[in-house]
Amino acid sequence: MVIRDYIFLGIFLLVMACVPLLLKNDYYISIFVFASFNCLACIGLSLLLGYAGQISLGHAAFIGIGAYTSGYLTTQFAWSPWITMFIGVVISIIIAIAVGVPSLKLRGHYLAMATLGFGAILYIVAVAAVDITGGPAGLNNIPPLNLFGLILDSDKKFFFFSWSVVVIGLLFALNLINSRVGRGLRALHGSEDAANSIGINTSSYKIQIFIFSAVFSSIAGSLYAHYVTYIDPGPFGIMHSVLLMTMVAVGGMHKIWGAVIGSLLLSLLPEFLSFSTGYFKTFGIEYKPDYDTLVYGIILLSIMLFLPEGLYGGFSSAFRAVKNIVKRNGKKAKSSS
């Protein structure tokens, strides 16, 4: 179980390291950089959704908190991005406590409501607090990250950096799952009553995981700000929160690897769709970017109907089925010889 995770991590590292070698165009590399931010947020979110069984509709707002804290403090006071990223994390933790504690103390899905409200409020603040956030126009000239003297100002450099952060995040999440705390979370998911009966403080665990996932999103937001160097409220709305949840659900919410697969796939999908516009035309279909939402909806619906354990779950049962067939044939071959 644990060993398999490390093998996957090795394969994942190799595959990601090959991506920039295969993609000659910087534009495509930048798509992968954006995917890394979603991936980081989704890893945290998958712990919340798949293990603590809670829905958040406000994680894009935590990405926003990271992005705006970094953007504002670096442009106004010229603080080091590393310090501002840390401050963003601290602010996210405080807000996650304020939102999470009252709603997670009770059993049920109060967190979904609370985060929906909190996401909406933060979005309005980002648009209205013009003096701090720059309003709809946003913040410009955010400095790039400086990694021990290496300025991360190209897509390729940032690609390697941000995916390294994802790998570290992934390693942390995997450690957590295969620990006392992770077992407690899986127990909570299996039966909350039984988990309580053996002394697991399930509401405290839910709160901790909510905070944990908020930290992942906040870091993703800070990275985003220093990558694009300008931010506006656009990407931090409810729709993006919903998209993040969709990524986790499509990939498979009960496994961290599902979050990785789902976030990569749905981050790359719009590019793939616009790339295919030409093919659609040959069939006489005029494909517009507006249809993306429709495609997402269809994907989510089909996954929920046919692969409730997500793509990862689908892959692993297919793999198991093939393994069984091979085994059976192997036995047959032996017995007939």
Partner: protein, 253 residues
């Protein structure tokens, strides 16, 4: 005099108009097997839910070693040393048999979210210790061979055994069993009876709710009979078997 481990004083639980537990008074001696019997709907499960903090009493008191535990949450009550099983068996079917028991070691281990995140599992000493202890309890219930099987795919009899082992892994002082033999065949019931006897021998106090009269009369030290949430009789199995009120309650008038 024997020390009292658990005491109910005028315990009352109403669900709207339904009085599930009605002015119940009862004590449990330390080291005993005390059984609670009574017709369906008599309030037995509700008594367990009150004792373990899943419900809070409408009135009255529950005392554990003389201290009131009425206001505590389930996980706090567990940490005092009260374990339980559920009438509708609740194993973690998303985990292996061994992992189920490992979670039972929750209160006997410490690592928190930060250390668990940073230190990988194979470098954590506590992890190895948890595993060793869990294997010991798996041995205790005689299911060492099933260690890696998914708990959800076990037959009911083994699921009940596993639930008991998970509770024992807490090393509780008191354990409450809610119909551990229901749905089991004669052989499995016998095994559960033997296991409960072994648990008593190890020094853990047992409160048992069960419908299987043979099992009850065989292993109980004291039997309490509940009807409509009140105690109508209490005594040794021999005394209960000849009690007029009990016979009326069970056979109707």
């Amino acid at each position: 005099m024997v020390e009292t481990i658990l005491e109910y004083q005028e315990l009352q639980k109403n669900f709207g108009g339904v009085v599930a537990v009605n002015k119940l008074n009862m004590t449990v001696d330390i080291g005993s097997i005390t059984s609670i019997i009574g017709p369906n709907g008599a309030g037995k499960t509700t008594i367990f839910n009150l004792t373990t903090g899943f419900l809070s009493p409408t009135a009255g008191n529950i005392k554990f070693f003389g201290n009131s535990i009425n206001q505590l949450k389930p996980h706090n009550i567990a940490s005092l040393g009260i374990a339980r099983t559920f009438q509708n068996v609740q194993v973690f079917d998303n985990m292996s048999v061994l992992e189920n028991i490992m979670v039972g070691r929750h209160l006997r281990s410490k690592s928190g979210i930060l250390s668990s995140t940073i230190i990988p599992p194979f470098l954590r000493k506590e992890e190895k210790h948890i595993k060793r202890e869990a294997e010991k309890w798996l041995e205790f219930i005689g299911m060492a061979d099933d260690s890696q099987i998914s708990a959800g795919s076990l037959p009911l009899g083994k699921q009940r055994m596993l639930e008991i082992a998970r509770a024992l892994a807490m090393e509780p002082k008191l354990i409450l069993f809610d119909e551990p033999a229901s749905g089991l065949n004669a052989r499995e019931t016998l095994a559960i009876g033997e296991l409960i006897g072994k648990i008593k021998e190890s020094g853990v106090t047992v409160v048992l709710v069960e419908h299987d009269m043979e099992l009850i009369m065989d292993i109980s030290d004291i039997v309490a009979v509940i009807n409509f949430g009140t105690r109508i009789a209490m005594g040794t199995p021999a005394e209960i078997q000849i009690n007029e009120d009990v016979i009326t309650a069970y056979l109707g008038d």
